[in-house]
Symmetry: D2
Subunit: 136 residues, 4 copies
């Protein structure tokens, strides 16, 4: 199965810049998270808040980031994400962050998520209808 990819445009905030005058390494993580939250609501029509209200949460189990070129102060960038695997206990989301001005790749990678029951904290089988909602 081939899943859809979605794009979110964001801008570097001054507090994202570290002592090397570039976006701090760990902030790319937060950019993917921000893009993903927006896309869950806008593109999948099922926001993180709705997951939480239903007692479900997503816990990250693995992160891989390949750094290519840093973003700098004031840069606009595109975060493209898409599901690459969706099984009964979790999913894999791949991402690419591109500098809007140059069109060049800043970093890419993937995050593995496990679905949990918020009340027990234990992993939970993803209901069929959620898999359907995200299988676009």
């Amino acid at each position: 199965m081939e899943y859809s990819k979605f794009e979110t445009e964001l801008q570097v905030r001054p507090d994202d810049i570290d002592m090397n005058q570039h976006v701090h390494n760990s902030r790319y993580f937060d950019y993917v998270l921000a893009a993903r939250y927006e896309q869950m609501e806008k593109n999948y029509h099922f926001s993180m808040q709705k997951f939480i209200e239903m007692g479900f949460g997503w816990v990250i189990s693995k992160a891989i980031v390949n750094y290519k070129r840093p973003l700098g102060l004031g840069d606009h960038f595109i975060v493209k994400t898409g599901i690459t695997g969706l099984l009964n206990k979790g999913c894999t989301v791949a991402f690419e962050i591109t500098n809007k001005k140059t069109g060049k790749l800043c970093c890419d990678g993937e995050f593995h998520y496990t679905m949990v029951n918020i009340n027990t904290g234990r992993s939970e089988t993803i209901p069929e209808w959620i898999i359907a909602q995200y299988s676009i």
Copy 2:
């Protein structure tokens, strides 16, 4: 003298939310900084990067924030800032952060800045032409 006020719209990022499910107190600081950087470039036509290239920097000497209502996950908000005092060694910038959806005030306050020479780290008299550029 009455100075202009400018507005920047921003959105809360998921990593801004703290254990209380609201934007972390210190992040409002970063929102004002982000708005101010944008307004320096867009509205005053003299970006922070240009200040730095000319060997000048702005150092914050005092911050006052009055917290009224917190922002939450995904909220869009307006940061309105304006100079309230511009003297030969520094300036004062007042700000208001308003929730875009409700129109209600989240916090307001002011930041006092001192101009410094980046190379010496010492305070510097603000050149007349910079005062002119910012006296709009």
Copy 3:
């Protein structure tokens, strides 16, 4: 009434440093918060977790920070805090952050807190026994 002051030693983390090669302005907030949490547990013997378990929370209503000298990469520093006012709806905490090596003041200021009921989000009268616990 004269309240006690308590000290906590902390160290600057590399991710606290911003593009100016100093601790980012808003991080001093977080240092005071970290020191205060430790002191609530160690010195007042009533941790923030206990407040939360009892359905109480502290909401910041005003912050004032006077910046004197920045902290840099790897610096050790002392956060001294103490109550300066404790009324039936809130309290004021003053702080001083000092560079451990030089003994010089980095910043000082005060935070005003309001006590809230976590469930209603509304301000709450501080119970007498909490005032007693913190009146040391």
Copy 4:
């Protein structure tokens, strides 16, 4: 070649906690960075500041993090790191973060670094004497 491993003890700061009441995913990155900076100075006797003074820098090219168990408010933890590969253009550092109280693994992973010339921003062959200094 088998390289040494070093340990640094750190504590979770309140601003590290996110809306899920655990340490925010991207902050583990910053914990490894903090530990590594300390170990460069204390254990390798060649601090990051010295690298910078000599015109060298380390740029991260790949990060892999496996999340096992989250850290929470106030937790003390141990960051164990060690070189697992040291070639003429870069090195690989593996890490493990362990909860001090429970002794259980919170996350592990590895970071790949490339050495760069700070002035040109280009990758640089690591001088023999640096390889020697770090081959302990």
